[in-house]
Amino acid sequence: MISWFNRSRIRSYVKLSTRKQNKMKQEIDVRFAEQRSIMDSRLANAKDYARKADRLQSRGKEEKAKEALNSFKLELASSQPVLNAYVSTALEKQLLEVMSMEGFEFPDLLSDLREDIDYGLFSVNATNELDALLSAEVNPFEELGIDI
């Protein structure tokens, strides 16, 4: 069972009128742009802190460098929920685009033929599962072994 394609919001999209489909897409586009902008801004801030830590460290200012690194860590930690929300919105946005294509069929049509096809993030069940997966897969904090 492919989780995302069983969501009523996704299922009902193909039955909506073009006007309603466009409205739904516009709402998602706005949300996507906002999340992307916040994420980019946090990335820029984190990189600034990293550069600052590097500069301070090279001048022998270890304590100040450590503070900059801690600020970096906080920036990174605070960006995780935004990253999760961004991934969820991006998946929905791109899925709606594919679903708007003439001839689109839900992939579960093929599930009788092959049950082991990997639909990646679309196979992940609920939002909290997606969060957990992203935290594990695309969070360097976890890989770095740092618990903020």
Binding site: Q57, K66, L76, L83, V87, V98, E102, P107, V138, P140
Partner: protein, 160 residues
């Protein structure tokens, strides 16, 4: 799945089959083109991630903070890569569906008996990559493991 469809197709008139085949051909072309675009996006993100990995690896030798900044960027690229690969799988399944329908219609028109092994083989070859390896298979092991050790030493363990 294919057998009932084949049986349904076998009862149709040739003109209806021609029209259906044309429709699936159009959809196949549409999804094939869209898939190509998405494959290019995946390749480009893959390349970007490899570059960032290499950059972070080099930075590790001279500056751990700089490597951390690059690792942060890697995280975003990797998320985009997972999204693109997931969307690609949906495009590929649609492309496959229309290809399968065309094959079945052409078989009916040519009087070829239904052969489930042909359908299985077609599915296996089309999806082999998506079956053999998981989309969510990339992680930041290796370089980030090194970064962790470096950072452990750098922060003296007190901030963890």
């Amino acid at each position: 799945m294919a057998r009932p469809i084949y049986d349904k197709l076998a009862k149709m008139r040739k003109s209806k089959l021609d029209s259906l085949e044309y429709g699936h051909q159009q959809h196949l072309t549409r999804f094939s083109n869209a898939k190509e675009g998405k494959v290019s996006e995946v390749q480009s993100l893959d390349k970007k991630l490899t570059k960032l990995r290499k950059k972070a690896s080099n930075e590790l030798d001279s500056s751990v903070p700089r490597a951390l900044g690059t690792a942060m960027e890697m995280r975003h690229v990797q998320a985009d890569l997972l999204i693109a690969k997931s969307v690609l799988s949906v495009m590929r399944s649609n492309q496959f569906y229309h290809r399968l329908m065309m094959m079945l219609i052409q078989d009916v028109k040519a009087g070829v008996e239904y052969d489930p092994s042909r359908v299985d083989n077609l599915a296996a070859s089309e999806f082999s990559e998506l079956v053999e390896e998981s989309i969510i298979s990339t992680n930041l092991d290796g370089i980030l493991g090194d970064l962790r050790s470096e950072l452990d030493g750098h922060l003296g363990g007190e901030d963890r």
